[in-house]
Amino acid sequence: MGAADKLIPENLDKSRFDQWFDQRFESKMAEREAAHVPSLSIIATKGTMDWAYPPFILASTASALGWDVSVFFTFYGLELLKKDLHLEISPLGNPSMPMKMPFGPQWLKDINWNVPNAVMAGLPGFEKVATGLMKQTVKSKGVATIDELRHACIEADVKLFACQMTVDLFGYSQDEFIPEIEGWIGAASFLPTAQKSDVCLFV
């Protein structure tokens, strides 16, 4: 006999009570689930244009679904909170990045330019060109700019946190960043938020 059983009066019809409890438990759990607001925590650590997309797309979409969203920007991720976004991409060392022309006839656009790393590294301005081409591709495919997505996040009350340690480490000053930042915090402050969220992602 368990400790819980001792609390039940002896004259109670236990099987009926169990039945009542199971039903009550189910309905209470359903009530609780219906009232639950899902939450998402993202840790954004990358500061290139391509890697800026996942956190902002996920955060803005989650907020559109009615979720509570917090994003912690740390290390290079802090770049995504600068007032002036100067995000670039680097195809160097990223063999998965397709290198395609965003304009011209279809046969030209279909070619994947397989540029060896040695050439990319040796060509001055290669990243500027790649960034320009990527921006062109984003525009022609109707994909939102990072600025637009960030704006959508701010409008939807996504909480944006900046890592204070990174600010100190890289010698930034707080006025280089957008004023909508919810707080300048450290890992010890963000982890409890992440712990309580339903979904937690590291990008």
Partner: protein
Amino acid sequence: MSTNATQSLDTRGMNCPLPILRTKKALSTMSAGETLAVTATDPGSLKDMQAFCKQTGHELISSSANQGEFEFLIRRT
């Protein structure tokens, strides 16, 4: 396109997640019971709009695909 919708929203040419973000924005300015007609060209919007309505509780009255264009009718709850 359904002509009796309260409001309409054109997201043609936009890609994920913009159609959902714009839909959410449009719905938030409307009152319960009103309907929103959305046009899109993003093929992902067909599944996304269903998921969006399921999660937010708005009613997806109809969705249709016609030659690369998608039409949705949503009732705000």
